[in-house]
């Protein structure tokens, strides 16, 4: 899920939003650090996640670990779509997952954990 907040936000707002309710938001990198459709791995609280910026500037985050092989590689897969769902294919054996929910789409199998993402003031934040 992505919330894009294009308008400049005042820094105090950014601070306050770091914890809202039970989630805590972590600033990861700036949107400009991400190239469209090119995944990047990131470390969030010691946990490896895979970040994807689409051509529409939406940003998604799923776990970096490939459920099928346990290798930490998902960011290096190919971004695509199935119908209107944005997808990521594992670089090792090409299992396809829904980027929004982490659901496996090409057959039965473990889902990927998906994380909420928002872009605030050009900064990508992940809820983890």
């Amino acid at each position: 899920m992505t919330i894009t907040a294009p308008a400049p936000v005042d820094p105090a707002e950014l601070e306050r939003s770091a914890t809202d309710g039970l989630r805590s938001w972590h600033s990861v990198c700036s949107l400009d650090d991400l190239e469209p459709n090119w995944g990047e791995a990131a470390l969030v609280e010691g946990r490896q996640i895979a970040l994807f910026r689409l051509a529409t500037d939406e940003v998604f985050a799923v776990e970096q670990r490939d459920p099928a092989t346990e290798a930490h590689v998902m960011a290096r897969g190919i971004v695509g779509s199935r119908g209107d769902r944005p997808t990521i294919a594992s670089p090792l054996h090409k299992q396809v997952y829904d980027l929004r929910t982490g659901e496996r789409l090409d057959g039965p199998g473990d889902a990927l954990a998906a994380f909420e993402v928002r872009v605030v003031n050009g900064i990508v934040q992940v809820a983890a």
Partner: protein, 901 residues
């Protein structure tokens, strides 16, 4: 015997049964060839349980499960599994197969078959399916010749030709005696193994039992063009050998000696009727006059009636050993039919043998020969409509009734396309005047009429057009009754096309026609986003000069692409423009390995392979590789392509590693791309005492020419310095083998899961022509192949197969040779080393980082442990026992890692 249901005898050994439960009927089959296999399959399909049930025992002297003799030649070139049908069938309850069990005596009075090992097999029903053996030649020295009938024969030839090449240090010469179908097939087999083949036949032209003189002349031409020498019209009188016993040639009746290192005899077959002959003799000696006995046919074999019953109660005969109408039929189609008939009769049916058509088609690429029906126009009043062009090696003849309407037979040489559609019309009215079917005459506008439902489309398996239509439209008998929509499905479900394969083009046509009728469009779409086939897409991109994914998708695609269309488009763009693969948004299209310009391994680390052209490397460069591997603690292994692979590099280490390699004068080996991999070579004439050309020099030249060439699948080449083939070039997409006069060019060899040997495309080429042909071959493949289709499958599936490739590459039949060469020249000019280009640009380098927000942190999920003095990935278990989140072990190159990117 008339009704087999009443013929179940109560033999001594039969289990006593209550009236209500009929006894199990013991069916013994002697012989384990295609006929026996089909019989058991037909029995199992009809059920072995009903009315008391059956126990079927097959006795075969061979060591193998019944195999497909028709496809025997395939076993010459590779270790294919020719087992007929599913091997599991032999595990069906009630079915027993005894291999290595030769039947030596038949006691039809006591109803027992005795095997060589002393076994006794009592039967209620006996099916003789002993087939034939290859006929031997009654001339001096014949004991030094070989035949072509069993797997062992073929394996022997393969080993022997290799041995001769090795011992003689030159191309071995093989003489095949017999110019019939089998002889030509054997000669082609010998040639494909690298031998020179000559065919010797006593009659003036080859295949004289199937072809008239005009057709024979055309065939002689074609055979000559294939590189066989044909010696017709003279009989051989002796196989001569030197004092060591090694064969040196064949002495002919006219005193000529045809030189040969190996002689294969393929002059026909003899039915294996010895069991029956012995039984007849025994009965005669015992004076059992009056009791029914076997009849032996005029040309051998056991005489059967139209129910496939022999003259002895409870004994049937099927396949090549059965003599029907005075003849034993040397084809699988009648053998299959007979097998079905006996199975039907044992199940209480009334099937009869309808007679047969001895239609034959030679299975030899580039030599199109077919003959069917009344080929010699022996029917009174029969008309022969002929087109002959002996110079071009073309002959076509249609034989009809005197009113020119009903098709009686035909002969096609050089161009047998019309045979496929005419064959099922045998005995029927022709849909057009006969001349329309002589395609080579140019007037060939034969109408595309629909075959009637009862026309037999696959004669080997007796499958009618209607049966195929039923399967396509899901009203057939196929399992689950799902509609069958591809050729593979039709083959599996109806068996059509599974034997000689000559009907496959017709099956394809019928399938497409049916699908079109039912509104199914035959989809060649790449994936859900691109509705074009790879070839169409390639052409569109080329013609419109498209260069970006976005442009291509906006014209031809929907959605945002996927792991199928993105890499395909990336590969097409790379083939056409040779531009840096990770620029201009193309990076996001690349497949796993191309994305990092390295091969991803199971734990997410990469392997690094520098190019070692032709496998030639200086000690200094070996030292560089050693130093890099040591510094970064990489696991090293020599690859099958004669280079060195270094494993275990992290994504962020790749640029540093490559910098060191490139500074030392090495370049990317592109082991990661669907692109040219390596050119393997032997040491060749420079050092080897057998070498005929400089294979290393040629390999380096080829590798430097085609390096970086991206293609539908990986490409490999091999160059051997002589016929001994130490480089195993024929296992490569392009194999080059030196001859005394230049190079032989082989194409379409693949290793992998379905290995294929490369086929000869052209002989004795000079360097320049060799490279020109390879340029054309590769570019034609790159333009027309499907995604991930390797060259072997590609050239097999192209219409016209290898012969078509030869015409395009050698004869420029499509007039595109210049264009193909120009495209290759462009590739050669634009080549740049991808790793050098990456290192030169900080933007490109940025991508090689472990974490976007912590580029200096290490991925701690990568854990290596030591094995045989090198690293390997830890198993999940080892990781746990080492502590789940330990950082990378010191064994994984601490010095390098701490430097960061």
């Amino acid at each position: 015997m008339s009704n087999p249901r009443q013929s179940t005898p109560a033999t001594d050994s039969a289990t006593p049964t209550a009236d209500s439960a009929p006894a199990v009927r013991r069916v013994v089959v002697v012989g384990g060839g295609p006929a026996a296999h089909r019989f058991v399959e037909a029995m199992a399909a009809r059920g072995l349980e009903g009315s008391g049930g059956f126990e079927v025992t097959v006795l075969t002297e061979e060591a193998h499960l019944p195999y497909d003799r028709v496809a025997l030649s395939k076993a010459l070139l590779s270790d294919v599994d020719l087992t007929l049908g599913e091997a599991e069938m032999w595990d069906t309850p009630g079915v027993t197969l005894k291999t290595g069990a030769k039947a030596v005596r038949l006691d039809s009075g006591a109803r027992v078959v005795h095997t060589e090992d002393g076994g006794e097999h009592p039967y209620d029903e006996l099916v003789l399916a002993t087939g034939s053996s290859a006929a031997r030649l009654p001339i001096a020295g014949a004991d030094k010749s070989y035949v072509y009938r069993t797997l062992e024969d073929v394996w022997f030839l393969r080993a022997e030709i290799a041995r001769l090449a090795e011992d003689l240090g030159r191309t071995p010469a093989v003489a095949v005696i017999g110019g019939g179908l089998l002889g030509i097939e054997a000669a082609a087999g010998a040639q494909s193994l690298g031998a020179e083949a000559a065919i010797i036949d006593g009659s003036p032209w080859p295949m004289n039992r199937q072809l008239d003189e005009g057709a024979g002349q055309a065939l002689t031409r074609l055979i000559g063009a294939k590189g066989f020498t044909m010696h017709g019209g003279v009989f051989p009188s002796e196989i001569v050998a030197d004092e060591t016993g090694a064969v040196t040639g064949v002495l002919m009746a006219d005193e000529r000696v045809i030189p040969a290192d190996l002689v294969v005899v393929a002059i026909g077959v003899r039915p294996r009727d010895e069991l029956v002959r012995a039984a007849v003799d025994e009965a005669g000696a015992a004076g059992e006059n009056g009791s029914a006995t076997f009849e032996v046919g005029p040309r051998g074999g056991v005489v059967i009636d139209e129910t496939c019953a022999t003259g002895v109660d409870g004994v049937w005969a099927i396949g090549e050993v059965a003599s029907f109408g005075g003849m034993c039929l040397g084809l699988v189609a009648p053998a299959n039919t007979m097998a079905e008939i006996v199975a039907d009769r044992l199940h209480g049916g009334e099937a009869t043998f309808p007679g047969f058509d001895t239609a034959t088609k030679l299975k030899l690429s580039g030599v199109d020969v077919a003959s069917f029906g009344d080929a010699f126009a022996q029917e009174p009043g029969a008309l022969e409509i002929v087109y002959a062009d002996p110079a071009r090696g073309v002959y076509q003849k249609v034989v009809t009734t005197d009113d020119a309407r009903t098709l009686l037979g035909g002969i096609f040489v050089g161009d047998a396309t019309p045979y496929l559609s005419l064959r099922p019309l045998l005995g029927r009215e022709l849909p057009a005047e006969p001349g329309a079917f002589l395609s080579a005459a140019g007037g060939g506008d034969a109408p595309e009429t629909e075959l009637p439902d009862d026309a037999i489309l696959c004669s080997c398996n007796n499958v009618a057009a209607g049966t195929l239509r039923d399967a396509v439209n899901a009203c057939g008998t196929c399992e689950g009754k799902d509609p069958v929509q591809d050729v593979a499905g039709l083959k599996a479900c109806t068996r059509a096309g599974t034997q000689c394969g000559s009907c496959v083009p017709m099956i394809k046509k019928l399938l497409e026609a049916e699908l079109t009728k039912s509104g199914v469009t035959v989809s060649k779409a790449l994936c859900e986003h691109i509705s074009l086939s790879r070839q169409e897409l390639f052409d569109a991109i080329r013609v419109l000069e498209l260069t970006s994914f976005e442009d291509i998708m906006s014209r031809y695609g929907t959605g945002s692409g996927c792991d199928i269309c993105k890499p395909t488009i990336a590969s097409i763009l790379a083939s056409q423009h040779s531009a840096y693969v990770l620029d201009a948004g193309r990076g996001t299209l690349q497949d796993t390995n191309d994305r990092a310009l390295a091969n991803m391994q199971k734990d997410g680390t990469y392997s690094v392979v520098p190019r070692i052209p032709g496998g030639e490397i200086t000690p200094e460069k070996l030292g560089v590789i050693a130093a890099v591997a040591q510094k970064y603690n990489l696991y090293t292994k020599i690859t099958g392509g004669q280079r060195i692979d270094m494993f275990g590099a992290r994504l962020e280490q790749l640029p540093e590693i490559w910098k060191e390699l490139i500074d030392a004068g090495m370049e990317s080996g592109q082991a990661y791309g669907k692109s040219l991999r390596t050119v393997k070579s032997c040491v060749g004439s420079t050092w080897c005492r057998y070498g005929q050309q400089d294979s290393v020099g040629m390999a380096i030249q080829l590798e430097l020419r085609y390096r970086g060439l991206r293609s539908p699948h990986k490409l490999k080449l091999g160059v051997s310095g002589c016929a001994r083939e130490c480089a195993e070039a024929r296992g490569k997409d392009v194999g080059v083998i030196a001859t005394a006069d230049g190079w032989n060019l082989y194409v379409g060899g693949n290793g992998g899961a379905t290995p294929a040997h490369a086929q000869l495309l052209a002989k004795d080429l000079d360097d320049e022509t060799l490279i020109k042909y390879i340029d054309r071959y590769f570019m034609y493949y790159i333009r027309t192949a499907d995604r991930l289709q390797r060259t072997a499958r590609w050239q097999e599936e192209l219409d016209g197969g290898l012969e078509h490739v030869r015409q395009v590459v050698v004869e420029d039949s499509l007039g595109i040779a210049e264009d193909l060469e120009a495209a290759m020249a462009k590739h050669v000019d634009n080549y740049e080393d991808e790793w050098a280009a990456t290192l030169a640009d900080p933007e490109r380098l940025r991508r090689f980082r472990s974490f976007v927000n912590a580029p200096d942190a290490l991925d701690d999920s990568i854990v290596h442990v030591a094995e045989r003095d090198q690293i390997r990935p830890a198993t999940e278990r080892e990781k746990v026992s080492l502590g789940a989140s330990i950082p990378v072990r010191p064994s994984a190159a601490p010095s390098a890692l701490s430097e960061g990117v």
